[in-house]
Structures are given as structure tokens and as C-alpha cells.
């Protein structure tokens, strides 16, 4: 099974460990993983800032780079959502690309969704001694319907207990450039997320999107919480094998 890994720009720059964990997990499950080295970004920052042309250039680039993969797997709900939910609209001015866009959309999977519904992963190598709470990132949840998949995967991790927040589906306040343009509103929203996380008493908050990850961790630390870990679910699933990151 030839699987293309769309690393995403934030994983590449900030948390490469997440990419390595994804790689380990997919290869461990028998996938033939290819990582196109020219990949950069899905175009979402431009798209959501109203710079449609810039986003189109990058979307076309992604289309070319993953043309020969059976599956494209993305360890991020919002980048996966960008491809699956928004590329058809973004590239609608180019009708000759439609068959390629449709093919890419059909073959693209958010990582947790792929692990559960395509690979049907039964065992995971990781171990986590403690409790975690899961934050449902907006794009993954509402654009890709990722809700039960990561919880199902976490339930397979030895030693791990899941403690749900009161409102796990509430936005963390990130919103891309919104977090910088409207920093005060953004961090107030993040505050409520931090309080909800704190209320569970969990050792870690686990999620599937880099934007939310940076936002929640950044606000938790500024509030003085240096204890609660903030982890991508794949870091929990893959365990320590990918520690070379």
C-alpha cells in the first residue's frame, strides 16, 4: 500500500517528532510510505486570509506531488480539511483539474481516521502511564468528522485512561492568523479551554492539530501550568521509538 505522507508545514518546522512518529506507525503497520521532498504547505494561510491566488498555486503543487499515491495521510485535521473540504471550491476555476482534485479528495485521510478505518489498526506500540483528555480540533471534527477515531486508538494504549472535558468540542481560539490579529480574544477563548482541561485533572491533553497544540500549550505555560503535557495523539500511539526527533 503506497501511502504519501503530507507532513504539513507546522510539523516540519516546529514538531518534526510528530512526523517521525507517523512514519514509524505507518511503516510498522506495513505501509510503503513515500514523503515527497518538495512539499511545503497546503495553502490554508493564504486561503483563509483571502489570498486565493497564492492558495491556488500551493494547492496545485500538492495535487502534483501526491498524484501517484494510493492514499495521502495527514497528521492534522485542518490541513486534511483544507484538502478534502476546500480544494474543490478553491480550484473550481480550473475545470480541467477537477478529475485530479476529486481523486486527491477521495484518497486523502486524516491520520486517526486512516489508522482506524483503512488500516483497522488493532494494536499500538505506545504506552502511557497516566490520564489524558482529548481536545476535538474544529476542522477535524466538523469538516472531517474525526471524533471517535482518536478515542478508539487511545483506548488501545496500555496504561492510559481517558478523562473527558466538559466541552471537548469547544474551539480553543486558535483560528490561524486570528490568533495574532485578535490576540486578546484568542487567548481569552484559550483560557476557557485551559480551565476545562485543568478541570479533568488529566496528565496530558491530546489532540490532532498543530495550531491548537501551539495555542493550548502556549496559554497553559503562560498561565503557569508547566505540568500538563500537550501531545499529538500519534506521539502517544507510537511510544518512544521515534525519539530520534
Amino acid at each position: 500500500m503506497r501511502v504519501g505522507l503530507f507532513v504539513t508545514c507546522l510539523v516540519d518546522l516546529v514538531r518534526p517528532r510528530i512526523g517521525l512518529c507517523t512514519l514509524d506507525l505507518l511503516e510498522g503497520a506495513g505501509c510503503d510510505v513515500v514523503v515527497p521532498t518538495t512539499q511545503t504547505c497546503c495553502g490554508q494561510p493564504g486561503y483563509n486570509s483571502g489570498d486565493r491566488k497564492a492558495a491556488q498555486v500551493l494547492a496545485k503543487k500538492v495535487l502534483r506531488e501526491f498524484a501517484d499515491c494510493e492514499y495521502v495521510v495527514v497528521p492534522s485535521g485542518s490541513c486534511g480539511g483544507m484538502i478534502k473540504a476546500h480544494y474543490p471550491e478553491l480550484l473550481s476555476e480550473f475545470p480541467d483539474l477537477k478529475p485530479d482534485v476529486d481523486r486527491l479528495v477521495a484518497r486523502t485521510w486524516e491520520l486517526a481516521d486512516f489508522l482506524v478505518n483503512v488500516l483497522k489498526l488493532e494494536q499500538v506500540p505506545g504506552r502511557f502511564d497516566g490520564s489524558v483528555t482529548y481536545h476535538d480540533s474544529c476542522s477535524g471534527l466538523r469538516e472531517l468528522h474525526v471524533k471517535s477515531q482518536p478515542r478508539k486508538l487511545l483506548s488501545k494504549v496500555p496504561g492510559l485512561t481517558l478523562k473527558e472535558m466538559a466541552t471537548p468540542e469547544q474551539c480553543c481560539g486558535f483560528g490561524g492568523t486570528f490568533a495574532v490579529k485578535f490576540g486578546d480574544i484568542s487567548s481569552r477563548i484559550a483560557d476557557q479551554k485551559c480551565a476545562d482541561i485543568g478541570g479533568t485533572g488529566a496528565d496530558a491533553v491530546v489532540l490532532g492539530d498543530l495550531g491548537c497544540m501551539l495555542n493550548i500549550e502556549g496559554r497553559l505555560r503562560r498561565r503557569g501550568d508547566s505540568k500538563t503535557k500537550v501531545l499529538h495523539f500519534v506521539e502517544v500511539l507510537a511510544g518512544t521509538r521515534a525519539s530520534d526527533g
Partner: protein, 470 residues
């Protein structure tokens, strides 16, 4: 109403520092959000009804000309005077003309957001006519000299204690703290106005084309008194509010009240078909309906058309994390929250509400709760695109996006640049791995740390891993 949307950021900052607002908005989250979630479970086919409502509203919008004329025909046949107003000014003038020709000195009003658009109260008061808001929330903000902060709960930004103080000051009666007692007091103050008013003004939730009926959805009974007690009644309604049949109104109502307040049905549904008919016990002698454009046909012709499906339930704002924290006033015009971030620029001009379509996280909570499936984030994005096209974004932002896009399209340069950025970022994070302040990123770092990069890019680590494997 005067547009204040260009002051969004200052208004939001003020809201964030207002502890009363924080408390009041907490009630909104608890009541409206939980209420809606529970009440939609009563319907086993909620999503099907939602899809049917979307289709019905789209069909109505596609046939507005035909349906509005059908409404006019049927309403006229029942003795209703139907007027057409192109602008907000026309609305105000028509209402004043009707009031003057009937020697009206006092008007009672049931809530109308369209009246807020046109600034009707101020206009009438400036012409020497007394206007009394009778919806409890509207009454509170009229007494406080404020504007509505929510389309169905106009005084949602005020806590019970604040209202208690306000009533004590305005009514000059002993201070009450029990909500039922406070409501009774407001009712006692308002009753003489109901009985002495010469004219009533209301909006309308829907116009029914097949019967020439206007209808309003209320909970307090003030709407029914406003439409029946005074000798003249005027309903002002946007052109987009028309539905073909009573059947359509009936099924869309199942979504409206549940989405709005979590009620299976509101306390009152008032249907008005013409003035008092021979044999009727009550009702106005004269009934006027003013059908209003005020920018709507322009929206109908634009790529924001779907926003006109709106049935004004307020669910989008109730569920919006931004609205929940800053309330409605920072949005600076009549409609706050996600729908306001689309309608305000559409009605008053994109350049007069620059921040609004950008002040959203695109969490799409609004989109999934909207009973008529308005894709609110998509419409806000279209407005963002329009801002870029028209060169309305700040120069630094445009430049930043250009630089980013230029590099992201050139993988070799991009990988060199990110390699440096990852190292620098890692170094800046020091031992804690946290960056406390970032040049040009104060919006982020004022209240948050930035977790530092690990130090090497995935690209480089992957290449090293591949070399080790050979």
C-alpha cells in the same frame, strides 16, 4: 443605526475587561447552547427538516418577485395597506406619514431589528412622537440608552443585578432582586402605555404569500398587544422574509424556536391577516405592511446570497466562541456574531466593517448549528477575498502573505529558510523551550508563550533517517 464597526477591536478589548459582561455571557452559554442541544433531540429527523428548510428558503429567494406580489395581492384583498420601501430613510418617512395622517402621539413597539437598521425610534422621537419599546429586553436597553447586543435577547449583556439597579433608578420604586418581581414591575409600568398608544409597530418573522399574513414569534405577549390594541398597526419587513405557504411557516418554526431558545414552541405565535374585520372583537382599524429592500437585492445578486436565508434565530452567535466572550456591541451595528459579520459588511459596505469577517476562528460551530445551513465561515472567507481584491488589507499583511507564498512555492529555498528558522526558534526557546516574546507577533505573545521548534526540520531528520537506513 450609526455604523461603529470600525471600532471593533477597541470594543472587544472593553468587553474583555468587563466582569459583568463575562458573567452575563456565561448565562447565555449555559441556557441557549444547552437548551438548543436538548430540544433538537425531540425531533428524530432534525437534519432532514434542516435540509428542507434550506431548500424552502432558497426557493423563496429565487421567487421573491413573484411571492411578494402574491403577498401584496392577498394582503390587499383583506384590507391591508401594502407599501414598498427601497431604503431605510423611505421606511422612516412612510411610518411618519402614516403616524401623522392618523394624529398619532404615542407608539408602542414590539421588537424589530429592521427598525434598528433604519434608526426608526430616533427618527420618530425627533419628529415629536413618543416611542415605547415593549419587549422586556428592548425596554431595558431603551431605558439604559443602549443598543441591542443580540437579535432575540437584546439585553443579554446585562446581569440581573444591573437591571435591578436600572429599574430602581428609573421606576423610583423599592429595589427588587427577584426576576419574576422585576418583570411584574416592568409590566406594571408598561401597561398604561399599551392602553394609551395610538399606533403599534412590529417587525415580522415571516410573510405568508398565499394568505397575505404577517407573523411574529414572541414569548412575552407584548407582540400580540402591540398588533391588536392600538387603532393603527404598522409591520416593517425585509423582502427576504416571505414564504410561499402557511405549511412552510409551520415546519420552519419547528427549527426556529428550538435553534433560538431551545423551546419546542414559543409562548405566542401571532398571525395577522388584515385589519379588524366585521365581527372581529379586536385588532387595528388600519393595518399597514412596509416591505423593505434596504440593501437586500444587492446581496441577492452577490456571492453572499445565502446569508438572506437567515431566519434570525441567533444560534450562530450563541455558539460563537468570539461572541460568547465579547458580546454583541463590539460588532458595531444591528446584527452581531457570525451572521452580523456577513450582513454588516454586505449592508453597510465592506470598507466600513473591515475587522468583522476576520474576527472569527472558522471553528464552524455557527455553520453546523444554523437551521438553514448558511455556510457562515465560507461567506466570511469570501468577504476576506474581497478585502484582498480591493486592497483593503494592511500593507504589512499583504507583504507577509506574498513572502510566505513565494517561498512556499520554491521548495529548495523554503527548506533552507525553515532550517534556519527552526534553529533560531529553538535557540530563542532556551532551556524552557518557550518563546516569551516574538518580534511582530505581539498579538500571540502578549498573553501566550510560543512553544519553540525542536531545532531540526522534519525534512532534515527524514533525510538523515533515510541515509542511516541505506
Amino acid at each position: 443605526m450609526q455604523v461603529q464597526s470600525e471600532k471593533f477591536k477597541a470594543g472587544a478589548a472593553k468587553s474583555l475587561n468587563n466582569p459583568h459582561l463575562l458573567k452575563a455571557m456565561g448565562n447565555l452559554r449555559n441556557r441557549m447552547v444547552t437548551g438548543r442541544a436538548k430540544s433538537i433531540l425531540e425531533l428524530d429527523n432534525f437534519e432532514e427538516i434542516r435540509e428542507a428548510a434550506r431548500a424552502t428558503r432558497d426557493l423563496a429567494l429565487a421567487n421573491l418577485d413573484y411571492l411578494l406580489e402574491e403577498f401584496e395581492r392577498n394582503a390587499t384583498a383583506r384590507g391591508t395597506n401594502v407599501h414598498w420601501a427601497e431604503t431605510g430613510k423611505d421606511v422612516n418617512q412612510l411610518v411618519l406619514d402614516i403616524a401623522r395622517s392618523n394624529n398619532v402621539r404615542k407608539i408602542i413597539k414590539s421588537k424589530s431589528m429592521l427598525g434598528e437598521e433604519t434608526g426608526l425610534n430616533h427618527f420618530l422621537e425627533a419628529s415629536g412622537i413618543e416611542v415605547r419599546e415593549t419587549d422586556l429586553g428592548e425596554y431595558i436597553i431603551q431605558e439604559a440608552g443602549e443598543t441591542p447586543s443580540h437579535i432575540i435577547a437584546p439585553a443579554i449583556h446585562r446581569t440581573k443585578d444591573e437591571v435591578s439597579d436600572l429599574f430602581h433608578e428609573k421606576h423610583k420604586l423599592p429595589r427588587k432582586t427577584d426576576i419574576a418581581e422585576m418583570t411584574r414591575e416592568a409590566r406594571m409600568v408598561l401597561r398604561p402605555h399599551f392602553l394609551s398608544a395610538d399606533m403599534g409597530i412590529s417587525g415580522a418573522n415571516f410573510l405568508v404569500a398565499e394568505s397575505g399574513t404577517t407573523m411574529i414569534v414572541t414569548n412575552e405577549g407584548n407582540g400580540r398587544m402591540t398588533t391588536t390594541l392600538p387603532r393603527v398597526h404598522v409591520a416593517i419587513v425585509g423582502i427576504e422574509k416571505v414564504l410561499p405557504t402557511l405549511e412552510d411557516v409551520a415546519f420552519i418554526l419547528r427549527l426556529l424556536t428550538r435553534s433560538a431558545t431551545g423551546q419546542s414552541i414559543s409562548n405566542y405565535l401571532t398571525f395577522t391577516t388584515g385589519p379588524k374585520q366585521p365581527g372581529d372583537k379586536d385588532g387595528p382599524d388600519e393595518f399597514h405592511v412596509i416591505i423593505v429592500d434596504a440593501g437586500r437585492t444587492k446581496v441577492l445578486d452577490s456571492n453572499l446570497r445565502e446569508a438572506l436565508r437567515c431566519i434570525r434565530c441567533g444560534a450562530c452567535m450563541n455558539h460563537c466562541p468570539v461572541y460568547q466572550n465579547i458580546g454583541g456591541h463590539p460588532y458595531g451595528w444591528v446584527y452581531p456574531g457570525p451572521i452580523g459579520s456577513v450582513l454588516t459588511p454586505a449592508f453597510v459596505g465592506i470598507e466600513n466593517a473591515i475587522d468583522l469577517p476576520n474576527a472569527a476562528t472558522f471553528c464552524n460551530q455557527c455553520g453546523v448549528v444554523c437551521p438553514v445551513k448558511i455556510p457562515l465561515p465560507d461567506l466570511m472567507r469570501k468577504l476576506r477575498e474581497k478585502q484582498v481584491e480591493r486592497g483593503l488589507r494592511p500593507r504589512s499583511e499583504r507583504l507577509g502573505l506574498k513572502v510566505w507564498a513565494w517561498f512556499a512555492a520554491r521548495p529548495t529555498l523554503y527548506s533552507a529558510l525553515t532550517r534556519i528558522a527552526a534553529r533560531l526558534g529553538h535557540w530563542a526557546g532556551g532551556r524552557t523551550g518557550l518563546i516569551h516574546s516574538l518580534l511582530g507577533g505581539a498579538g500571540w505573545t502578549r498573553d501566550r508563550d510560543l512553544p519553540a521548534p525542536q531545532g531540526k526540520t522534519f525534512r532534515d531528520l527524514y533525510a538523515a533517517r533515510a541515509r542511516r537506513r541505506i
